[in-house]
């Protein structure tokens, strides 16, 4: 079966980008958010393919958002391109350092340590009056790589997000099929064997951790620009839990899945908040249990099973 992922990705991106002028405002916002969060989930998928589940991607999501916002606040730079670059660099830099600690852990330890680290950031931000404490602060974008974009900022941002996600997904797809990608899958299956074949498991895990963080930071930056506001909740462990949920929902089979999973999640969340805010979490929990019990490879696996049977 030929690998049509990149073709589908390119086609979908083109179609979506072309439809931007026709899309209603609320949908523009929803899709931007879905794609931005989908980026974070892409990073999670990479980690899960390496056999690790992080309950703390919110750390980089939040770092990216705050980095982008601080670039505007401190340096009065309103350029989206620069703000996003700052988001990615900040996230990757922190991950490069934290990776030394985290790459030594697996399983539950890795999950809960990553959670604790994101809670450290939360704690620091909440106590920081200069950064707005629990209220956070607002940001505004006025240009993109030099060109002014006021007025239709939302749509331009959607375009940027589509391009970002498509590029990231394509890159990740190539990576997963490269030597390092296959090594990551082997690590998930049997680390001992990989080490006894001469490869450094730690280095690969560290690298994947940094890549996932960079994707998380990019997603956080895009979210910040789209929403126009940031606050410490982005680092709270329940935010990370949402990313885990979407990753479980999408499965790790294909890089296209996180967008579908994220879009589905955002849509349901918006509906639930309006009509049934007190059973929202319960629905999530029940859905997660159902997926774990009946479709452990995510909803994507159900789609693939049907395609092969037909």
């Amino acid at each position: 079966m030929k690998d049509r992922t990149l073709i589908v990705l390119a086609a979908a991106s083109v179609v979506m980008a072309a439809s931007i002028p026709l899309t209603p405002q609320w949908l523009v916002f929803l899709i931007t958010l879905a794609l931005a969060k989908g980026l974070v989930v892409l990073g999670l998928v990479l980690l899960m393919r390496t056999g690790l589940v992080s309950f703390g991607q919110g750390l980089y999501y939040c770092l990216g958002a705050y980095a982008a916002a601080l670039v505007e606040q401190s340096f009065h730079v309103n350029d989206a391109a620069l703000m996003l670059a700052a988001a990615v660099v900040a996230a990757a830099a922190v991950a490069a350092v934290l990776g030394f600690l985290l790459a030594a852990y697996r399983g539950i330890f890795f999950a809960m340590l990553s959670m604790a680290l994101s809670m450290i950031l939360f704690g620091l931000l909440v106590k920081s009056a200069a950064l707005g404490s629990t209220d956070g602060f607002n940001i505004a974008t006025h240009s993109l790589a030099g060109a002014k974009i006021e007025g239709s900022a939302g749509r331009v941002l959607l375009g940027v997000t589509i391009v970002s996600f498509a590029a990231a997904a394509a890159g990740l797809h190539r990576y997963l099929n490269s030597h390092l990608g296959r090594l990551s899958a082997a690590i998930r299956d049997n680390e001992l064997r990989v080490e006894y074949l001469g490869a450094s498991v730690r280095n690969v895990v560290h690298l994947n951790y940094v890549i996932a963080a960079a994707l998380g930071g990019l997603g956080g930056g895009l979210t910040a620009l789209a929403v126009g506001h940031i606050d410490p909740d982005m680092a709270y462990w329940t935010t990370s839990g949402e990313f885990v949920f979407v990753a479980v929902l999408s499965g790790t089979g294909n890089v296209l899945a996180p967008f579908a999973g994220s879009a589905l999640y955002e849509a349901i969340r918006t509906l639930a908040n309006q009509y049934a805010p007190n059973v929202w979490q319960m629905t999530l929990g029940a859905a997660m249990l159902a997926i774990i019990m009946f479709a452990p490879d995510g909803l994507w696996s159900l789609f693939r099973r049907r395609a092969r049977a037909s």
Partner: protein, 298 residues
């Protein structure tokens, strides 16, 4: 001098609370290899139920000190009902699967319970200060503390001693220790591991509920109170070593004192201090302070 005393006393009070929470979590992990994220919701459940029962008791005009019995009763009820319900009804179906999958299952249970609590008790906060105010205050030096804090400390000490005695001196306790070491061999030796799991999970749930019940009179019982508890409890458990009761006690003591010192001298880093201790312990001893020796794998 009174400053240092305040740090120590506050630290011990906080450590007691941490120990009650950590003990249940570490016990469940040690025996069943499940890190129970729902521990936080069970804590909240204990708090809510005890608030309701105490409220009913006091409104019914009964003897005020009986409200303490209500606290104990609510913890017991939560343990005895939720423990078997979750273990038999759900977790049993998932045994044998990867530990991270089980983590996700407990996370799902947490989400469900959070909303279940909201459905039953609504979103308003509950206040039941009677058990807290009742015994009045006592003084150490020139510091004044509510006597209720002694109840908290007492509960932690009693729970710790009872658990230690039960684990090391009773037949059933030793079976539990055997399962902690190796569940497969225990099963092969004829230990009813399924029953050990059920009992352990029930005790762990009860401990979480005790934590909630004992905390309820000290604050506003509100939705979401279980959310932060999880990460704190986990930090303590990790510092002490997963599965070690003694480790949970030591970890609770360390975290309690460090946090107390932070609150007094450098409030900005309060939360940060707890996780820093965890990070430092892990760097020095990757598996926590007390860990069972690991057998050679190959």
């Amino acid at each position: 001098m009174s400053d240092l005393l305040a740090v120590v006393v506050d630290g011990i009070i906080y450590s007691s609370w941490l120990f009650i929470m950590a003990a249940g979590l570490t016990l469940i992990y040690g025996v069943m290899k499940i890190l129970n994220i729902a521990h936080g919701s069970l804590y909240a459940l204990g708090a809510y139920l005890s608030a309701t029962l105490v409220g009913l008791w006091v409104a019914g005009g009964h003897a005020p000190y009986g409200s303490y019995a209500m606290l104990a009763l609510s913890a017991l009820l939560v343990g005895v009902v939720m423990g078997p319900l979750l273990e038999r009804g759900l977790l049993r179906l998932m045994y044998g699967r990867d530990e991270v999958v089980l983590l996700l299952v407990t996370y799902a249970v947490f989400l469900i319970l959070e909303d279940a609590i909201k459905l039953v008790w609504g979103v308003d906060s509950l206040y039941v200060a009677q058990p807290y105010d009742l015994p009045g205050n006592f003084t150490i030096g020139d510091l004044s503390y509510p006597v209720y804090n002694l109840v908290l400390i007492g509960t932690a000490v009693v729970a710790g001693l009872a658990l230690a005695w039960a684990l090391n001196r009773t037949h059933h306790g030793k079976m539990l220790l055997a399962v902690i070491h190796d569940s497969e061999v225990s099963r092969a030796l004829g230990i009813n591991v399924g029953r050990v799991y059920l009992v352990t999970f029930t005790i762990g749930t009860m401990l979480a509920a005790v934590g909630g019940a004992v905390t309820a009179p000290t604050l506003a019982v509100s939705a979401g109170m279980g959310v932060e508890v999880i990460v704190l409890s986990f930090a303590v458990v990790v510092i002490g070593g997963l599965g070690s009761l003694g480790g949970a006690a030591l970890g609770a003591l360390i975290v309690g004192l460090v946090r107390s010192a932070a609150v007094h001298y450098w409030p900005t880093v309060e939360l940060f201090s707890v996780y820093s201790v965890m990070a430092m312990v892990l760097i020095a001893r990757p598996k926590g302070l007390f860990t069972p020796p690991e057998a050679r794998r190959i």
